[in-house]
């Protein structure tokens, strides 16, 4: 980024300083103090002997140790080597060097003030202002700024040469002092002056920036920014700065950010399409599985008296059921993301009963728990049916609880317990599933609810169960978090809002 402040900021400071002095001169130095350019009343300060490349600190020893100045600039008191009068020396770091501005401190100014106070003629007042600011012309033009002063009649007068791109009507540069009517300005400036008037006619100092715009100047496109200033002494100024470098820099950053966003969106759409394809494939895989399961079940019945066959069939059945469970998870996640999250109930009459859902799921999974020797405890339900209704969909709520219990069972060992509990918490029903397994490893905690989050660490089945739970619960306006249990174990806490309005089936918001 540019190391210098906005040039219009600098110009404002110069113009304000100029209300306190005259015989201004300016130098542009490199960081070592060597002269790059100079202008203004150099002779008044005995600086007219300086040549490009000279060490300016010899003529202005107060600069020693002050180069380069800090980003906020420096103001140094000094005495003019030419006039012997007190000086204000201002230093500012620019892109192309250090600007040193020398202004005589306020002493005898007052002829101009007297002229302004005693004569209300707008043009005379403007002439006085111009005369006071003319020493700044070089510095302002050196900053690439066009400066126009607004007189009491609202007309604009160029302090620096006004190029053709400033005016839609003039074929040549307007010289300093030339008056421009608003209608002569380019459409953007004409429009901006409408806003600027509010600053110029207000009490006290003020400023307003236009924001960047571009003007065509022959084959070249110029990036510009205007600023309306009302100085503390009431002088009204319009600054127009070329902001090509800053403009390009900002535009490049913005363009890169937007290009990234477009690319991100494109990839997201591509992933969605691939997920759709995956869904179709998985769905097709599920078809034959039903037949396989049916056939194995029949074989199991027919060969019940043959221990070896029974064991083989049971192995086949177990694998087929595992496969079916994984496919179901994939399909659940897909439908949760793409399609079926649209409908759920917030109507107290039709919202699912969380206590009933918990009881049903516990009954369904009880044999699996028994088989593994893990106790499943459903804590006594203190909620009546009216108090245990939650926003959601009954089938998917049971699927969420199933996922959490299956997850707990998967990570539990023989003789451990898994506890499913519900409690009333004001506007919410809180469901907890707690196990006594090894708990969630710290490196998994951050990605636990992400798609394939647990599978990435080798901890889960397909790595989609917790993702499905989170997606579903969030879409109902609830939440799900994991808590560690001491000395070991994991607790999943689901909070679901109670239904309050009779607006069943409103669209879900994506989490």
């Amino acid at each position: 980024m540019s190391r210098s402040p906005a040039r219009t900021d600098l110009a404002r400071e110069l113009l304000e300083l100029a209300t306190f002095g005259r015989d201004a001169a300016w130098l542009l130095l490199d960081d070592d103090g060597r002269l790059l350019r100079a202008g203004g009343e150099l002779a008044a300060h005995a600086l007219d002997g300086l040549r490009i490349g000279d060490d300016a600190t010899r003529a202005l020893p107060m600069l020693v140790g002050c180069l380069p100045p800090p980003s906020e600039g420096l103001h140094l008191p000094a005495v003019s080597a030419g006039s012997g009068r007190p000086l204000d020396v201002a230093l500012r770091a620019l892109d192309d060097g250090v600007l040193v501005l020398l202004l005589e401190a306020r002493t005898e100014l007052d002829l101009l003030s007297a002229m302004q106070q005693s004569n209300h003629d707008a043009e005379l007042a403007m002439a006085a202002t111009l005369r006071r600011l003319v020493p700044l012309q070089g510095a302002l033009a050196g900053l690439g700024l066009r400066v126009l002063l607004r007189d009491a009649d609202g007309a604009l007068c160029a302090l620096t040469p006004a190029p053709r791109w400033l005016s839609s009507a003039r074929a040549h540069d307007a010289p300093p002092g030339a008056r421009l009517s608003r209608q002569e300005l380019t459409p953007f400036l004409d429009h901006f002056l409408g806003d600027a008037e509010a600053i110029w006619t207000a009490d006290g100092a003020g400023r307003l920036r236009s924001g960047p715009w571009t003007e065509q100047d022959g084959p070249r496109e110029r990036a510009l920014e205007a600023e309306a200033l009302r100085l503390p002494d009431g002088t009204c100024v319009l600054l127009v700065a070329e902001v090509d470098a800053t403009f390009r820099e900002q535009r490049d950053v913005l363009q890169a950010a937007r290009a990234s966003k477009l690319e991100y969106d494109r990839l997201r759409r591509e992933i969605e399409q691939k997920e759709l394809l995956l869904h179709c494939i998985v769905h097709d895989l599920n078809g034959p599985l039903a037949t396989i399961l049916g056939s194995l079940s029949m074989l199991h019945k027919r060969h019940a008296d043959d221990a070896r066959s029974t064991r083989l069939v049971e192995m086949g059945l177990e694998q087929a059921r595992r496969q079916e469970s994984r496919i179901r998870q994939v399909l659940d996640v897909f439908s949760a993301e793409i399609a079926s999250m649209q409908g759920f109930s917030t109507d107290p009459e039709h919202a699912p009963d969380a206590a009933a859902a918990a009881a049903r799921v516990a009954r369904t999974l009880q044999p699996a728990f028994q088989h593994k020797g893990v106790r499943l405890r459903l804590l006594p339900d203190p909620l009546d049916a009216r108090r245990s209704r939650v926003v959601g969909d009954a089938d998917r709520l049971e699927r969420v609880l199933e996922n959490l219990l299956e997850n707990a069972l998967r990570h539990s060992s023989r003789d451990q317990a898994v506890t499913l509990a519900l409690r009333d918490d004001g506007h919410e029903v809180v469901i907890t599933v707690e196990d006594q397994g090894p708990g969630v490893a710290p490196e998994m905690a951050d990605t636990l609810f992400e798609k394939f989050g647990r599978a990435r660490h080798g901890g889960g089945a397909a790595g989609l169960g917790l993702f499905f739970c989170r997606y579903t619960v969030l879409s109902w306006g609830g939440s799900i978090v994991h808590e560690a249990v001491r000395p070991h174990g994991a607790r999943f806490v689901v909070r679901l809002p109670r239904p309050r309005a009779r607006d069943a089936g409103r669209p879900a918001t994506s989490p």
Binding site: T186, P187, H191, P212, W213, F247, L254, Q255, R258, K261
Partner: protein, 166 residues
């Protein structure tokens, strides 16, 4: 006598506002995407029957989370052109939101809605039914392609006529 009318181009980023202006005013199109920072004003004279119009077309920066359209730019508009990308359905609602903001500032001015990038029709995701609804609500809906020029002059002309009637 020539009447000047200000038109503001509104929409989110990369929908083709600058390309549409470039096609309408200069008759050219560039494949290169260059984001607009601030404003660029172009003018084009049009003759509608006995009426001579100078259209001041304000090509405003696209609005998104990085950049907001300044309300002051909208002041004085006689007409609005909303531009959406037909291949990005999610560009429609931000454009309509900008229109609501603009109408609060400038009153009820005629609005053309340009579903742009018609040359990429195979990737079209914007719903025609939604566009039909907006047409029924009084917007001048036009499918356009800044790349081929299809529909561009028609859209500006439609808006110019409505602005003259207003």
């Amino acid at each position: 006598m020539t009447v000047k009318k200000k038109i503001c181009m509104l929409g989110t980023f990369a929908v083709g506002k600058t390309s549409l202006v470039s096609r309408f005013v200069h008759g050219i199109f560039s494949e290169r995407y260059q984001t607009t920072l601030g404003v660029k004003i172009d003018t084009r004279d049009v003759q509608l029957g006995e009426h001579a119009l100078t259209l001041l077309v304000w090509d405003l920066n696209g609005e998104d989370s990085f950049q907001r359209v300044r309300d002051s730019y909208l002041r004085g508009s006689s007409g609005l052109i909303l531009v959406v990308d037909g291949t990005r359905a999610d560009t429609l609602e931000p454009a309509l939101a900008l229109r609501r903001r603009a109408l609060e500032l400038v009153g009820d001015v005629p609005t053309a809605l340009l579903a742009n990038k018609l040359d990429l029709r195979s990737g079209w995701t914007i719903e025609q039914a939604r566009l039909d609804e907006l047409a029924d609500a009084g917007l001048g809906v036009q499918h356009t392609s800044a790349a081929t020029g299809e529909g561009v002059a028609e859209a500006f002309t439609w808006l110019a006529e409505r602005m003259l009637e207003a």
